[in-house]
């Protein structure tokens, strides 16, 4: 195959070649030239198509970025706002989202552009390219670099998601250096956190309030389904299950942590203000009523929390007493032996 034939093939592909016969000084040539010029003006040159495509691509990218950071962001990002770890996850998610949008636009753009641009036309000839090692290596490395960057961002944000911070000064007053039940439980730097044990069972969540809740739950205050917590206070959850696997999840307070029988799992949150109630539900299939295993976290002021705790303690004691009395009555009546 000659060089010239190759050039011709390329020229035909680009649609840039008009029959050379009309370029000569033959009669009618100037008219032909004019027609050609007009035709060329009507049919935009390939180069400018390419330029326009690139511009459109850039515009689309920027457009979607702007769009994404505005209205789009809330609808296409995780829930947040109830705790710093949820906010950090949300911001990490957004970083990935921005990179993802660029990758999406570039890849889909290249796909649709080539489908449209290179569809079979009369006289079009496919370029017989078998590959290009340098190009292939560079996109492999490019993809890898994006992922290295993502890994770096993730690890740099990790401690703000995993490690509980100190409570705010106006949070609940906690005793100094409370010894918590387990050595692997995450703790704020000053060691002071409100510990609540979360226990999943078919199909309800039970909460036990107090540092020693796992080892010695007797006599501690507990509640079902609704957890009450003080605002501005770091709350560490010690999560377990008594029957099958469940998963603790309040979207606005952070990620999911599975409650696995025989294992311990931990998470934490720190709600910024009182008066909010955050809802969630069990996220791991646990049986037929899995959909009904809901959970609520009601945030109150530290004072209200202390008051609630006292009230709940009294209520539980009252209920216990009533049960005891009932048992005694039934026993003396001979109904219960």
């Amino acid at each position: 195959m000659s060089d010239q034939a190759r050039k011709q093939a390329k020229a035909r592909r680009d649609g840039a070649l008009s029959d050379p016969i009309f370029r000569s000084g033959a009669p009618g040539a100037s008219l032909r030239r004019n027609v050609d010029r007009i035709r060329a003006a009507l049919r935009p040159e390939t180069a400018s198509i390419r330029r326009r495509a690139v511009a459109a691509l850039l515009l689309a990218t920027i457009g979607s970025l702007v769009f994404a950071s505005g209205a789009f962001a809330d609808f296409f990002t995780p829930e947040s706002g109830g705790s710093p770890n949820a906010d950090q996850i949300d911001s990490l998610y957004k970083i990935i989202l921005y990179i993802a949008i660029v990758v999406f636009v570039v890849v889909e753009g290249a796909l649709f552009y080539s489908l449209w641009r290179f569809r079979a036309k009369k006289g079009a000839v496919a370029a017989q390219i078998h590959g290009n090692t340098r190009l292939e290596i560079s996109w492999t490395v490019g993809a890898a670099l994006i992922l290295v960057a993502l890994a770096a961002v993730t690890f740099s944000k990790l401690s703000s998601i995993q490690d509980p911070p100190n409570s705010d000064p106006d949070g609940l007053e906690l005793a100094d250096g409370v010894l918590t039940a387990s050595v692997d439980m995450p703790r704020p730097p000053n060691g002071r956190a409100l510990v609540i044990c979360v226990s999943g069972r078919q199909y309800i969540w039970r909460y036990t309030y107090g540092a020693d809740c796992r080892r010695n739950p007797f006599g501690l205050v507990y509640s079902y389904e609704e957890m009450v917590v003080p605002a501005k206070t770091t709350v560490v959850l010690d999560i377990e299950a008594t029957d099958v696997i469940h998963s603790w999840w309040i979207p606005k307070l952070g990620g999911k942590f599975d409650a696995v029988p025989g294992y311990k799992n931990y998470t934490w949150f720190k709600a910024p203000k009182a008066g909010e109630t955050y809802v969630g539900q069990c996220a791991e299939l646990c049986g037929r009523n899995h959909a009904d295993m809901t959970a609520r976290v009601r945030v109150v002021t530290p004072d209200e929390y202390t008051a609630w705790l006292d009230q709940q303690r009294r209520d539980i004691a009252d209920a216990d007493r009533q049960v005891q009395e009932l048992r005694r009555e039934l026993f003396s009546d001979g109904d219960l032996n």
């Binding site: 034939a5 011709q8 093939a9 592909r13 609808f75 296409f76 990002t77 995780p78 829930e79 996850i89 990490l92 989202l97 993802a100 889909e108 290249a110 796909l111 649709f112 080539s114 489908l115 290179f118 569809r119 079979a120 009369k122 006289g123 079009a124 000839v125 496919a126 370029a127 017989q128 390219i129 078998h130 590959g131 290009n132 090692t133 340098r134 292939e136 996109w139 993809a143 993730t154 944000k157 099958v244 998963s247 979207p251 990620g255 999911k256 942590f257 029988p261 025989g262 294992y263 311990k264 799992n265 931990y266 809802v279 069990c282 996220a283 791991e284 299939l285 037929r288 899995h290 959909a291």
Partner: protein
């Protein structure tokens, strides 16, 4: 230089001579007792497609239940049974076996062999599959399984799921597992031993490469799940406590075993589809695959890495942070060869002369959809982000983008591409394209909004959602979309059924294919080829066509086109 268009250029008609076996038995006995890889392939494809339709009906029932908040169309029990049946069916009775069906039919043809290495084992694989599927579905008459397709313990233990449906599920895993394992050994032996003269590893069609890796992954992963479900069975009935936390067993052990199988399973489902697309794109772009070596090598790299990423399904389980980090990085790593394939496919289209026939539509639609599934996969690999996303509708959307987009669109691509070879008839192109667009729109409508539903807090596997959770609109769009998708699928089904008898006669090579299955008649005779040609490149049919052209004196620019190899 003459430019003959591909469409008008005469195609060399290379025909094998048909051998007629004397017919002594009824036709149906022929089908029951056959060891012919083509008949077995067709039975595989037809029966697994039937399971696909059953799984689709189950999906639509679930979507009806979720169409409005607090719906009571289904009881929670039935909902749990439906997603368990649906997931299990789609994976074990549809995607994995239909890929085996394609491999059965086309692997021997593509490598120029007359049958599989072990034809009788091949028949055994098929009948085991059908047997497993029928027994599994027989549980409908009693009590179907309801612990989800990954049947986490302790929920799947006897104490919490006493019904025999769970045992039917275990049975299904065992039987289809043996079926796949036997099939995998057969594919492996066939590829290694029965290639046409001249077909070295560098000339193996890319679909055959992916089937080779598919077979290796099955051989790696299936024994693990077989062991795990056996342990579950003995836990349930024979007093062992492997997974029972009250007796010192570990529910997390089940998860490790399951996902050590489960993640390679994802690639088992998707790699053959990659292979189909890698065959179809060059044929319709009239251009060699871009970077054959990279595409083949990335398949092998994916298979290796697939065994190192299983715990990314377990990020919310109590495991140490180093483990989380390791599995995030390994999952990132596997994204690289997957991305490389996508770039290679697009580069294959680049500067081609793309014939927009129906197989190309499905191949391009697959890439468009799979890119989204791949990108959401990166979100899920970042474990702190996964803590928000796992077990929500975001994950449901992600894996349907990968499986429905990745596997189903490639399966339809393969069906349209090879239908003329299997039946000798062409499908209706306008109907195929209409079906594509309806499926494409319906699919995106069903699953795109599910990302948003998951991000707004909707967990997966819930049979109801409250009216005030802001989830109603998403679910309504999704339900309408699923019916659009269903209509699109039925349009193709109708196309396949109708064209069986009435389609235009296809001839041996309607698409001007590159690989040897197009060298013989459509449908191929019992012995496939009278003469097996010597293979000189990855695209033997191109060489053969060129040779015939040269001998018959038809000049064509294809022949003299420069090839720029780097």
């Amino acid at each position: 230089m003459a430019t003959t268009d591909f469409a008008t250029r005469p195609v060399p008609q290379v025909l094998a001579h048909e051998v007629h076996a004397e017919r002594t038995r009824a036709r149906w006995i022929d089908w029951l007792t056959t060891t012919d890889h083509k008949k077995i392939g067709i039975m595989y494809i037809v029966s697994s497609f039937a399971f696909f339709l059953i799984g689709g009906i189950e999906a639509l029932l679930m979507r009806v239940q979720l169409a409005v908040p607090n719906n009571n169309f289904l009881t929670p029990e039935h909902f749990n049974e439906l997603f368990t049946l649906h997931g299990t069916t789609m994976i074990f009775l549809f995607v994995v076996p239909i890929m085996a069906g394609f491999a059965n039919y086309f692997l021997p043809l593509m490598i120029g062999a007359r049958d599989m290495a072990f034809p009788r084992l091949n028949a055994l694989s098929l009948w085991l599959l059908l047997f497993g599927g029928i027994v599994f579905y027989a549980s409908l008459l009693w009590q179907p399984p309801e612990a989800g397709w990954f049947s986490y313990t302790p929920l799947s233990n006897e104490m919490y799921t006493p019904s025999g449906g769970q045992d039917a599920w275990i049975f299904l895993i065992h039987i289809t597992g043996i079926s796949s394992l036997v099939g995998a050994v057969n594919f492996y032996a066939t590829i290694v031993n029965m290639r046409a003269p001249g077909m070295g590893w560098g000339r193996l069609p890319l679909f055959v490469w992916t089937i080779l890796i598919y077979a290796l992954l099955l051989i790696l992963a299936l024994p693990v799940i077989a062991g795990a479900v056996t342990m579950l069975l003995t836990d349930r009935h024979f007093g062992t406590h492997f997974f029972d936390p009250t007796e010192g067993g570990s529910p997390v052990l089940w998860q490790h075993l399951f996902w050590f199988f489960g993640h390679p399973e994802v690639y088992i489902m998707i790699l053959p589809g990659f292979g189909i697309v890698s065959e179809v794109l060059p044929v319709f772009a009239r251009k060699p695959i871009f970077g054959y070596k990279a595409v083949a090598a990335s398949t092998a790299v994916i298979a290796f890495l697939a065994a190192l990423v299983w715990a990314h399904h377990m990020f919310s389980v109590p495991v140490p942070t180093v483990v989380l980090g390791f599995f995030m990085l390994s999952s990132f790593l596997i994204a690289v060869p997957t991305g490389v394939k996508i770039f290679n496919w697009i580069a294959t289209l680049w500067r081609g002369s793309i014939v927009t026939a129906s197989p190309l539509y499905f191949a391009a639609g697959f890439i468009a959809i799979f890119v989204i599934g791949g990108i959401t996969g990166i979100f899920l690999a970042v474990f702190p982000v996964d803590w928000q996303l796992t077990d929500t509708y975001f994950v449901v959307a992600h894996f349907h983008y990968v499986l429905m987009g990745g596997a189903v669109f490639t399966i339809f691509c393969g069906l349209y591409y090879w239908y003329p070879k299997m039946t000798g008839r062409l499908c209706s192109e306008p109907l195929a394209k209409a079906s594509f667009w309806v499926m494409f729109v319906g699919f995106n409508m069903t699953f795109l909004v599910q990302h948003a539903a998951g991000l707004s807090g909707m967990p997966r596997r819930v049979y109801q959602y409250p009216a005030d959770a802001g989830l109603t609109l998403y679910n309504q769009i999704s339900t309408v979309g699923s019916f659009v998708l269903g209509v699109g699928i039925l349009m193709s089904v109708w196309n396949f059924v109708r064209s069986w008898k009435t389609g235009a006669v296809a001839g041996p090579d309607p698409w001007k294919g590159n690989t040897l299955e197009w060298f013989t008649q459509s449908p191929p005779p019992v012995n496939n080829f009278d003469e097996i040609p010597r293979v000189r490149s990855v695209e033997p049919m191109k060489d053969i066509r060129r040779q015939v052209e040269r001998q018959s004196g038809i000049e064509h620019d294809q022949v003299t086109q420069p090839s720029t190899t780097a």
